[in-house]
């Protein structure tokens, strides 16, 4: 019981901290892109202003929708927040010195929790009864089908290494190896997976609203006001969560996690500047590359 309360408390504090910093990280990615494209770019804090702007606006709802439409952004945001409580950040640090740290769930639960958010988000988009919503859902499902095997293998790599699927347990043992071939291959593969999961270039373009290029933005098209703000905040939080996972579990560098997260954000900015969005049906080649890297690293263990 004490353990549960401790885990919940620390997890919630961690989730709120990540929530506060999430827009900043996205602002940082955007600023990096702007500088690399020789633009001045918006302020690093611009995302906060945008969220505040949407927050105060009214929500416009199409008359054909059911309750799922309103529920979807809340579930999407809620599950992302729960996932944020689960990542191995503060949970690892020694509330129980010497033991394995606190935990709210293991890697599979983490993945399926994000799937819960996706389930409702895609339903919400279909509920708006327009071509765009259906298109976004359909493509989101398609991308997630391609990403999922790679995600599962990325979990398997760590589960085999640390003989546990608990996220905090993996992080505690993480210091024991650096720069082996499998570690580097896994790191690259997880980075590719991270871009696809978070609808970033080259899989999806977060900046455009053209029907031919967008996936995630397509689903959010009918949302406005406070609901839109929730969806965006959820997406930003999701990027930060994946960056934290990337830093704590996959990036084999002996530097503090916070530095690694900032570094990861910069790398995303650079990669997004250097790449175009690829065609929807080429994504499977991209993700096959991640899959092969993971298989090689699993065999090379």
């Amino acid at each position: 019981m004490v353990y549960m309360v401790q885990s919940l408390g620390v997890g919630l504090v961690q989730a709120l901290l990540l929530l506060v910093f999430a827009p900043f990280i996205v602002g940082l990615i955007n600023k990096t892109k702007a500088i690399l494209q020789k633009r001045q770019g918006a302020s690093v804090l611009q995302e906060y202003f945008d969220l505040w702007k949407w927050w105060r606006k009214p929500v416009i709802v199409t008359p054909y929708t059911s309750k799922i439409f309103i529920l979807a952004p809340a579930v999407y945001f809620g599950t992302t927040l729960m996932a944020a409580a689960m990542v191995p950040g503060l949970l690892v640090s020694g509330l129980q010195a010497g033991s394995a740290g606190l935990s709210l769930g293991d890697a599979f639960v983490f993945v399926y929790l994000l799937a819960l958010g996706r389930f409702f988000m895609t339903l919400g988009a279909m509920d708006s009864a327009t071509a765009f919503g259906g298109m976004g859902s359909s493509r989101e499902v398609y991308i997630s089908v391609l990403v999922e095997p790679a995600v599962m293998l990325a979990i398997l790599v760590n589960a085999m290494r640390y003989q546990s699927t608990t996220l905090t347990r993996m992080v505690i043992d993480f210091d024991t190896f650096y720069f082996t071939v499998p570690a580097v291959l896994t790191c690259v593969a997880f980075f590719l997976v991270m871009l696809a999961e978070n609808s970033r270039l080259p899989v999806d373009n977060p900046d455009t609203h053209l029907e031919l290029t967008m996936i995630h933005e397509c689903m959010t098209l009918e949302y406005s006001g406070r609901l839109l703000s929730l969806i965006h905040l959820g997406s930003m939080l999701k990027i930060l969560i994946f960056l934290v996972l990337f830093s704590t579990l996959y990036l084999p560098l002996a530097i503090p996690v916070a530095v690694k997260v900032l570094f990861g954000a910069l790398v995303i900015g650079v990669v997004e500047t250097l790449n175009n969005k690829m065609r929807l049906f080429k994504v499977r080649v991209y993700l096959a590359a991640a899959l092969i890297l993971l298989i090689v690293s699993l065999i090379a263990e």
Partner: protein, 680 residues
């Protein structure tokens, strides 16, 4: 009082309602269904209390409702009924699903007034009774007898709407396929039985079958039971039989009958054949994994609601068998404790699949009831007309996508844990490759299942109506809602507090011949379900803790969203200056287009486009588009075999010319041959 015998008596009484006069047919139906529900409830109580005693829940001695463990000999010559842990687990599944679906059937069956409703509810009792008897059978002969009754009664139930041509076709296809399966099971029983003193299960367990024949026996048993549970490539009857049967029958077939096959397979593997051979587990696991992936891939392409669910059953049976195979491999490599996890996962997933698939078939029945169609492209916006049905379906769809807080994830989580263990505990390279394959396929399966049920729920219940059929839709009557509601509630309750279910299922494995060690809650790496004492030291899934977190997050969200400033305005969607029409929504076919294209080398879709007329040079052509996704196994395996059979039978024409004189000649020759043989 022995509840199991009472249950059998009640089933028999229920079956007798078939004989009531026609003017009392509605009463016969209602009483038949209520008797079935009561009998199933007794079965459930008897087996659940038995397992409860086994896992030490302190059920008082007087409360154990069935006589278990010891041989229950009903005293007829040669027929024996035995109930042990392994059958009790499946009796729990049968009893639970039987009770709930019978309640649903009270109202659903009324649609068959005047078209053999007495036969429907009478056979319904017989079907349930035959499944209970299969689970209780204590010797090979009783087993085969009950198995055949089950097959024939389910054939009659599938064939109930025999006015429709495709129903008859599906029913006879099912009949042929299920008899192939029975033949395979008979071979297996024959081989084992010929090497043991009698057909009693307790003596079959000490059979002396050795060498290649043992492999043949295993192959025959696997083929027989895999066919009944619809594993690929033996699944072809399943997507045809389920849509043809009345919905509550498909719910029972999918929820329980497929699990009875798992029971039979487990009986053979655990008690008769053993798990010493490495290849056994390997084959079972691989077949299971491919069924899971291909099943859900076809499910996400189908347009018929019940065919979607049928293919999804193929998927879930695939997961169950893959986990079974994983458990066999773990036993073979000497990790008995972890094998326990795998076999518990088999049982837990069987139970949760029977709940969630039962629920979805019932809601498919509700949708058919309300609209008269099962084509998803004609639905849409049903959530407004049937809010309760929509809510229950949503919960079922979530469970089938194995999302948190539902039973679906519990079984799947345990299955994944056992796969991981197979990878790192055994440490050999070939098993590691197997685990990699398993994870890739499970990842694909999980994501495809989510897509499949988003598509199903989204197209049927959300958006705007896609045809006029939706206009006359209405909410379901009480008993139908009751059946669906109980299942939905069970999904959530067992999903958030899964520990009783896991313990019950685990207890069923401890008795009997497989001396697998009982997993103690803190010593073992995996067993984190529902247990949060220092959960980080091992893998843990504690849905209760997750629920606490969810409640806190919900409270925050509710506070934020309901605060001042959230005002909702209703307005038509902006659509580039035009008013959006209903036809602009994505169809189910359109929804699965990217997946169809990504997996076209497996699916090989056939497209026909016909340009009907062309009045203007540049626009206004009306196009007829026809898409057909053939089942590749039917195309590449069954149709050639069928042609071969027809060609071989044509050879009989040489003998059978239709001339009576020739036949008399044959008789003569035969007589002479017999006489010569007798003289010699």
């Amino acid at each position: 009082m022995d509840f199991l015998f009472l249950a059998l008596v009640l089933y028999a009484m229920g079956a007798m309602t078939m004989l009531w006069p026609k003017r009392l047919e509605m009463a016969a139906h209602a009483i038949g269904m209520v008797l079935a529900a009561a009998a199933s409830a007794l079965t459930f109580l008897a087996s659940a209390t038995y397992l409860g005693t086994m896992c030490g829940w302190g059920v008082p001695a007087g409360m154990t409702l069935g006589r278990f463990g010891a041989l229950v000999d009903i005293g007829w010559s040669g027929y024996t009924l035995v109930a042990d842990g392994w059958s009790a687990a499946f009796l729990v599944i049968t009893g639970l699903a039987g009770t709930i679906i019978s309640l649903y059937g009270v109202d659903y069956g009324k649609a068959y007034r005047g078209t053999g409703i007495r036969a429907l509810s009478g056979l319904w009792n017989l079907f349930l009774a035959s499944m209970v008897l299969v689970l209780l059978a204590g010797d090979g002969f009783t087993f085969i007898l009950a198995w055949e009754v089950m097959a024939l009664v389910s054939f009659l139930l599938v064939n109930h709407e025999s006015k429709k041509k495709e129903t008859v076709h599906a029913a006879y296809q099912y009949m042929v396929m299920t008899h192939l399966g029975t033949a395979a099971i008979l071979i297996a029983f024959y081989l084992i039985g010929s090497h043991s003193p009698s057909l009693l299960f307790s003596e079959l367990a000490h059979n002396t079958l050795e060498g290649p024949l043992r492999h043949v026996a295993f192959a025959a048993a696997f083929i027989g039971f895999a066919l009944k549970s619809g594993l690929m490539p033996l699944h072809v009857w399943l997507p045809n039989a389920h849509p043809a049967a009345p919905s509550h029958v498909s719910a029972l077939m999918s929820g329980v009958m497929l699990k009875v096959a798992v029971y039979g397979f487990g009986r053979f593997v655990f008690y008769f054949l053993g798990m010493e051979v490495f290849a056994y587990g390997l084959i079972v696991m691989l077949v299971g994994l491919f069924s899971a992936f291909l099943g859900v891939l076809y499910a996400s392409m189908e347009k018929d609601m019940k065919r979607i669910l049928a293919y999804s059953s193929v998927e879930n049976m695939g997961i169950i068998f893959a986990t079974f195979g994983c458990g066999m491999l773990l036993v073979q490599t000497g990790h008995g404790t972890m094998a326990m996890v795998a076999f518990t996962a088999v049982l837990v997933h069987s139970l949760s699949h029977s709940i969630m698939k039962g629920l979805l078939f019932m809601s498919a029945g509700a949708v058919m009831h309300a609209t008269g169609s099962k084509n998803v492209e004609l639905m849409g916006a049903l959530a407004k007309k049937m809010p309760a049905t929509a809510l229950f379906t949503l919960i079922g769809a979530m469970s089938l996508s194995s999302l948190p807080f539902t039973t679906g994830l519990v079984g799947e989580w345990m299955a994944l844990q056992s796969f991981v263990t197979l990878g790192w505990q055994t440490g050999t390279q070939e098993l590691r490759l197997l685990v990699i394959a398993a994870f890739v396929l499970m990842g694909l399966t999980g994501a495809l299942a989510l897509g499949c049920f988003v598509r199903l729920f989204g197209v049927v219940f959300l958006g705007r109506r896609r045809s006029a059929l939706v206009l006359k839709a209405y909410e379901m009557p009480f008993f139908m809602l009751l059946g669906m509601g109980i299942e939905a509630l069970l999904i959530l309750v067992l999903g958030i507090f899964p520990m009783p279910m896991v313990q019950l299922m685990q207890a069923s494995l401890t008795g009997g011949i497989m001396a697998l060690p009982m997993v103690s809650t803190d010593a073992v790496v995996w067993n984190g379900i529902g247990d949060f004492a220092n959960a980080a030291s091992y893998s843990a899934y504690s849905p209760f803790m997750l629920m606490m977190l969810a409640l806190i997050v919900t409270a925050i969200l509710a506070f934020v969203l309901e605060g001042k400033g959230l005002y909702v305005q209703k307005d038509v969607t902006w659509n580039c200056g035009t008013v959006p029409t209903r036809r602009q929504q994505y169809t189910a076919t359109g929804f699965s287009k990217p997946l169809r294209r990504a997996f076209d080398y497996i699916l090989k879709p056939r497209k026909e486009r016909t340009f009907l007329k062309k009045e203007h040079a540049y626009f206004g052509r009306s196009v007829h588009y026809n898409l057909f996704i053939p089942d590749q196994f039917t195309e590449k395996l069954y149709v050639p075999v069928q042609h071969l059979m027809v060609r071989l039978s044509a050879l009989l024409h040489l003998l059978q010319q239709g001339s009576v004189r020739l036949y008399i000649g044959y008789t003569m020759i035969a007589m002479v041959a017999v006489l010569i043989w007798g003289v010699m």
